[in-house]
């Protein structure tokens, strides 16, 4: 191992790996990525893996759209010899209240301004898209055929292997235990496998990002919230798209493998609880079986839990520490980090490489919680 690196990235999820790849692509290859477990062992590997462009704010719709375009060619883009599992079967967003239905119309306008091919569908058409859908209680839905989902493990591996080929080093099963600051600038990262000097450090540690930032005196207003999901046995194709409701807070999709992956939103206190609960199992099945009664017969084979890194306005925070220049935190994705990671990684890499970007990175600064320039999003779970 070398003594020091230009850049050290903490966190081997999709955000960290994609950032490593984009930096290397811009010629910054003296990079070390440190991961406490193995790649995708945190939030990335536990996520619902949905990719949706149907957002309600122009910013999120744009980031998601540009990320989708990257997901569409990720194998070629990164030189990966395995499929990243992208399946664009669409997202059917269903509205259960009149207010939600009205909000969806506004969201569509935002999406159409960006050229996202989404549309409102009535209940008859919703049943044509998902024949087994119980539309009782629904007002309508919106559909975007280019939304979908991908395999979070292989997407992350694609970025990691591409980065490795360009010279980025990876250190897994290695925990960051301390950060050294010298005259107001980040100087080194202490780990369970030695101390490494660094000119720049990028903190992509998801729910663990605040405690790392705290080591350099920075307060990041991100809390962790447990979310759970489950997967069924594989069956023949029943539906092609993701079905999702904000009001009843559920999502359900059939993966290309044939299994159904689903989850419901909790109302929980912040915690670092990574255990799954039987309460989730029962409530999730009750909520999902009402929307898709045909799933009653399917066997649940596995359930798991992960953490959302919630920021106050449910949008990412990208910020440089005040008392440790060169220490950046990229966190607070609030449950939609996977689908926006490709574009956020480009934004971050452009910033560090001194290249222009059409997006202003400063709007993601946590200063927005003082100035009130929040990044508000009406279409978030």
């Amino acid at each position: 191992m070398k003594k020091g690196y230009d850049v050290i990235i903490i966190g081997g999820g999709i955000v960290g790996c994609a950032t490593a790849f984009e930096l290397a692509k811009r010629g910054i290859t003296d990079v070390l990525l440190v991961e406490k477990g193995y790649l995708t062992s945190g939030a990335t590997g536990r996520c619902g893996a949905g990719i949706r462009q149907q957002w309600g704010s122009e910013l999120n719709a744009r980031i998601a759209m540009e990320s989708t375009h990257l997901f569409e060619n990720l194998e070629e883009y990164t030189g990966y010899n395995h499929s990243c599992g992208l399946h664009q079967g669409g997202y059917l967003l269903v509205a259960y209240t009149e207010k939600e239905w009205a909000q969806f119309q506004e969201n569509l306008e935002v999406q159409h301004r960006l050229g996202i091919d989404s549309r409102a569908v009535d209940l008859k058409e919703a049943r044509e898209i998902v024949p087994c859908l119980n539309t009782e209680g629904m007002f309508g839905a919106t559909f975007c055929a280019k939304d979908g989902h991908a395999d979070p493990f292989h997407c992350t591996q694609a970025y990691a292997q591409g980065a490795r080929r360009m010279g980025v080093e990876f250190l897994t099963y290695t925990e960051v235990t301390g950060l050294q600051v010298k005259s107001g600038h980040i100087a080194a990262v202490e780990t369970t496998n030695g101390t490494f000097e660094a000119k720049t450090v990028i903190n992509c540690a998801n729910v663990r990002a605040p405690e790392l930032a705290k080591m350099v005196g920075e307060d990041i207003p991100v809390t962790s919230e447990r979310h759970q999901a489950l997967v069924t046995e594989p069956v023949a194709p029943l539906m092609d798209c993701m079905v999702m409701s904000f009001h009843r807070s559920y999502y359900v999709q059939q993966t290309p493998h044939g299994s159904f992956v689903m989850g419901i939103g909790p109302k929980e206190e912040p915690s670092f609880n990574f255990h799954s609960s039987w309460q989730f199992l029962e409530k999730n099945c009750a909520v999902i079986c009402e929307a898709l009664p045909v799933l009653r017969k399917l066997n649940v084979v596995r359930q798991w839990a992960g953490q959302y890194d919630l920021s106050p306005d449910r949008n990412p925070i990208i910020d440089e520490a005040k008392e440790a220049a060169g220490f950046y935190s990229v966190c607070g994705f609030s449950g939609h980090g996977f689908m926006v990671a490709p574009r956020i990684a480009i934004l971050m890499a452009n910033h560090l490489a001194g290249q222009d970007d059409t997006m202003d990175i400063r709007m993601f600064s946590k200063e927005r919680y003082q100035t009130g320039k929040l990044l508000l999003e009406p279409a978030v779970v």
């Binding site: 790649l39 046995e233 109302k267 309460q279 199992l281 029962e282 099945c285 799933l295 596995r302």
Partner: protein, 98 residues
Amino acid sequence: MDDKNTILCRCEDLTRETILACIESGCHTIDEIKRMTRAGMGPCQGRTCRMLIAQELASYYHVPLEDVLMPTFRPPTKPVPMGILADAFSEEEGGDSE
């Protein structure tokens, strides 16, 4: 166990050759192999393949079998139909948190 075509994970139809390729590409644990190949993600949840993959890891890295990290054992123990779980749900018990 020399046959490369021996099936190690029956649920996902994975041969010993596939598992060995994963280990040779740098996987250190059952968890990593699981996420790359789906080994142990089928209906039996790794009951058959878990220890077989552990053996391969132990022999490749020359470590005792008990030093191979076990993946998290996730519920339910046996596959359960969603309908049965749905009928067991009652609002009074909450269900939001433990």
